[in-house]
Symmetry: C2
């Protein structure tokens, strides 16, 4: 336990909205039970169906949340530092609904679920923060569901690129943050179809060179993509 744990992580964790407002001694008590581990790439951290023993916090690297059924697998989300994942299963003390694997070398903090629930029961600020976090997660999934049901794959890709462009600083050139096959899975299509979808966006000024995307005219792409804050704004 407490493998490789360093108190230098404290301030970063403490700064997360989830932990920022809680009482100092409650935070300390949570951290006492925590341990940290650095995982190599492509390690399965959790498996759907397993009971939930830990709340995970990713400090560096990246983690893929995915789900499978009947031999198929699909990417549900990608988690990047610094954030928590599988909060709902922790709270409900339920089975994981998704599996998680590292995409690259990643440093992960593990908080025993029962500690989280115990502190949650006595710290009102923490409870408040959890509600807020869960509401954001919930609304985020609803947006994904709308994206999936109301748009074609070409429209999903166009809107994804617009979101990524904004997140990347607003330049006309930016990098895909992960493999195309994973992006395809996230968007609910096959890699072949994604390849063709990129070409389908060329009339709207999108060009691809490896992992670098260039957008000729944002307004042109927006006219096609019709982004909506009620689907594409993942901050509220």
């Amino acid at each position: 336990m407490h493998i490789g744990f360093s108190e230098s992580d404290y301030p970063d964790i403490r700064a997360l909205p989830l932990f920022a407002e809680m009482a100092p001694d409650h935070f300390q008590s949570l951290m006492r039970g925590a341990y940290v581990q650095t995982f190599p790439p492509h390690i399965e951290l959790i498996t759907e169906g397993d009971p939930c023993d830990f709340l995970h916090i990713i400090m560096s690297g990246s983690v893929d949340l995915f789900a499978s059924w009947n031999g198929h697998e699909t990417c549900m989300a990608t988690v990047r530092p610094i954030s928590t994942f599988i909060l709902a299963a922790t709270i409900k003390d339920a089975q994981y609904l998704m599996s998680a694997r590292t995409l690259e070398k990643s440093r992960i903090v593990l908080l025993p679920s029962q500690d989280v629930r115990a502190i949650f029961d006595v710290d009102h600020h923490f409870a408040r923060a959890i509600v807020n976090e869960l509401a954001i997660c919930y609304r985020s999934v609803v947006k994904v569901q709308k994206d999936l049901k109301l748009r074609t794959s070409l429209e999903r890709l166009a809107n994804y690129l617009l979101r990524l462009q904004a997140r990347s600083g607003g330049g006309m050139k930016f990098e895909l943050s992960f493999e195309k096959r994973r992006l395809a899975s996230y968007l609910g299509m096959t890699p072949e179809n994604l390849s063709r979808a990129f070409k389908g966006l060329r009339p709207y000024g999108v060009t691809v060179d490896g992992n670098t995307i260039s957008i000729g005219d944002i307004e042109d792409l927006k006219r096609f993509a019709r982004p909506s804050p009620l689907i594409d704004d993942h901050s509220t």
Copy 2:
């Protein structure tokens, strides 16, 4: 205000997991600000994008939660008594992500959002219950997303029928709870496609007569549908 409000609703509301554990005077204070209204069928109660003013509780009837984009519309969920809806928007004080309309004559309790947030800030049991409710909602949407991404429409229909059959008491014959066109939209397909999907399930013993579904052999259908608790069990 307080239109048609009757204290006879108190016990039913109080019995909801969301309100069951909170302090009596907090509950009273919430109820004081509440009002009730009975709406005719096909009335739009809330519109996506509007600011969230009320937490809604459905006491009788049924309500359709739907979303639209670019001229398309899709059914996200159907709400039945007695439960709350749009809790996340209430908590976040954010825009509605979905619209809601009555499917039939419905009795709805409206709790001003600011009251809900105010009580939430002072009542730990209420906060605990909200967390629980949100976690359930979140996990429910994740399951829907898995259903949409991992299954074909035929598989979604088959699993939907198995869930409905279980909910209806386990008999071999049961009724569709709503129109086929809405079911089609919920399952992410067109009405025409749903019609054909029902026929596609005939080899597995499913027969349809109007709104009555008969299943010849549950095990036979299950062999095709391959239901999974991690997708189809909407209670955890």
